[in-house]
């Protein structure tokens, strides 16, 4: 019985790669998810993930089923969506969520149209939901580099990002790095979503980013603990999700996210920090 928890990963290379890729993505996405939540930008990942589509489609149109071309296209489209909506909200005062909500359907629709123009129908579902079992050595290497790079950048901007999220006015008074920090942070979110769309799909990557972060909120009041807990929950979900997908012959991305969803529901109910079953619940967010 215990063996069955490890056996698929020992026996099959593709399972091992999927596990390794998923664990790396979970670690890399956890701090980003926590900060998106703290900045009340939890839904932005979702919008950006949709926004990636036309870029990936354009890459597919120009270069065929090339991983590099599609990732590059996705990255550019994602950055354009995030950047344009930030520009609109900074210059016109439109709230950032409204601005993103306005641009991502444009992006998604044009992506679907581009795919139609391309003639051959690229598997749209595959792009949005991905397949962890298709992670090859090249993708795995890309995931590893993105994880290392994004953890390094995150560590470098951590203090400024913390202040920019808590008290942006104060940061603006003591440092010139506020806007750069904001931009780098959004860039990291886009980068992780793009590299994640290879492995578990752009939409599922949003789940792996946000669900562990939201779940962690019920376990600690300290920021660094939150990040660590989110990473652990994400890693456990990847592992359990891959087993579920292997034994029940289910699609891997959704299996992982369903597991993360289970962890979230459990945390909402039993978590010690304002969980539902605790006496001291907090009904009004303060």
């Amino acid at each position: 019985m215990i063996d069955q928890l490890w056996q698929p990963f020992i026996e099959f290379t593709f399972m091992r790669r999927a596990l390794l890729g998923g664990l790396l993505l979970a670690v890399s996405a956890a701090p980003l998810g926590v900060f998106l939540m703290l900045r009340r930008m939890s839904l932005i990942g979702d919008a950006i993930a949709h926004g990636i589509l036309p870029g990936a489609a354009l890459g597919f149109w120009l270069a065929g089923l090339s991983l590099v071309a599609m990732s590059l296209g996705g990255l550019l489209a994602g950055l354009a969506v995030a950047g344009f909506s930030a520009l609109v909200s900074r210059r016109t005062g439109l709230r950032e969520d409204a601005s993103l909500a306005a641009i991502y359907p444009i992006s998604l629709a044009s992506g679907v149209l581009l795919l139609g123009l391309a003639g051959k129908r690229l598997d749209l579902l595959g792009l949005l939901f991905g397949s962890a079992l298709a992670v090859d050595a090249e993708t795995l290497r890309a995931i590893l580099w993105v994880t290392l790079g994004s953890l390094a950048v995150f560590a470098a901007i951590y203090r400024a990002l913390l202040l920019d999220s808590l008290d942006p006015l104060f940061l603006r008074r003591v440092s010139r790095y506020g806007p750069i920090t904001h931009g780098l942070f959004l860039g990291l979110v886009v980068l992780n979503l793009v590299v994640g769309f290879q492995a578990i799909g752009a939409l599922m990557m949003v789940g792996l980013m946000m669900l562990p972060a939201a779940a962690a909120r019920f376990w600690s009041r300290r920021l660094l603990n939150l990040i660590a807990i989110a990473a652990l929950i994400g890693m456990a979900s990847v592992w359990a999700g891959l087993l579920l997908s292997y034994y029940a012959s289910l699609s891997s991305g959704p299996s992982i996210v369903v597991m993360a969803g289970g962890a979230y529901l459990f945390s909402v109910m039993c978590g010690p920090v304002h969980g539902l079953f605790r006496r001291r619940y907090l009904s009004i967010p303060q």
């Binding site: 808590l166 006015l169 104060f170 008074r173 010139r176 009041r221 300290r222 967010p285 303060q286």
Partner: protein, 228 residues
């Protein structure tokens, strides 16, 4: 007055929403190390004036120059703190942000932090999460953060409003300490009695024209106007 002694210079300055300035053009010169109160009725433009000084809002017309470094030179405490109380950090981390950009080793930081927490009667609350702080405690924490900064100009917008009697006493004692160490202060307050007692010079902001002078005479006049 030489440039080196001047902190703030307003030259025909007007501010407010686009197209409707709140006051006639203001000429004002505040020397370094001065302590000035800004008073006036609600909506007269006191907070906007501080924002213009802090460089967070553009003036409508005229010029303002502030002789403090652009970053870290101005400490600014806004009127209504929009700090998210659920943010998962504790009081120590909030106050320590005042060290931004200063080169101190860990020992110096710890010593300085302990001293400031003691001065604002926050010792013992270091490990409290923001959520567990009262409004007055949070306000004192933000004042403590301002104490840690090396700012030569401090702009305090009704920073005394949330404080109890003890807090008020601490607040005014610090105001005088800050002035004594050479900082320039501009303080918005509605506590006219206290302002008259503690602050020598004040600026009354009024849509008919701003007046700058000794608080003793200006505040008496304002009170008289309200009666009439």
């Amino acid at each position: 007055m030489g440039r080196t002694f001047r902190m703030i210079l307003c030259d025909q300055l007007q501010w407010g929403a686009a197209g409707c300035p709140l006051t006639p053009p203001l000429d004002l010169e505040l020397p370094k190390g001065s302590l000035t109160a800004v008073i006036g009725s609600n909506g007269c433009g006191k907070s906007s004036f501080l924002k213009v000084i802090a460089g967070l809002q553009r003036p409508l017309s005229g010029r303002i120059s502030v002789s403090a470094p652009r970053f870290g030179g101005i400490g600014y405490l806004v009127q209504q703190q929009a700090i998210d109380r659920q943010f998962p950090i504790d009081l120590r981390e909030l106050v320590s942000a005042g060290f931004w950009g200063q080169r101190l080793d860990a020992g110096q930081r710890r010593q300085r932090l302990e001293q400031v927490l003691f001065e604002w009667q926050l010792d013992g609350l270091e490990a409290r999460p923001l959520q567990a702080l009262s409004g007055g405690e949070l306000q004192r924490a933000l004042l403590a953060r301002a104490s840690l900064m090396q700012a030569s100009l401090l702009l305090l917008d009704e920073a005394d409003a949330a404080l109890d009697d003890t807090g008020q006493t601490l607040f005014w004692r610090h105001i005088h300490d800050w002035v004594r160490t050479g900082r320039t202060l501009v303080v918005v307050s509605h506590d006219l009695g206290r302002v008259r007692q503690e602050i020598g010079q004040c600026l009354v902001i009024d849509r008919l024209g701003c007046r700058y002078g000794p608080s003793g005479s200006l505040i008496g006049e304002a009170a008289y106007c309200q009666v009439a």
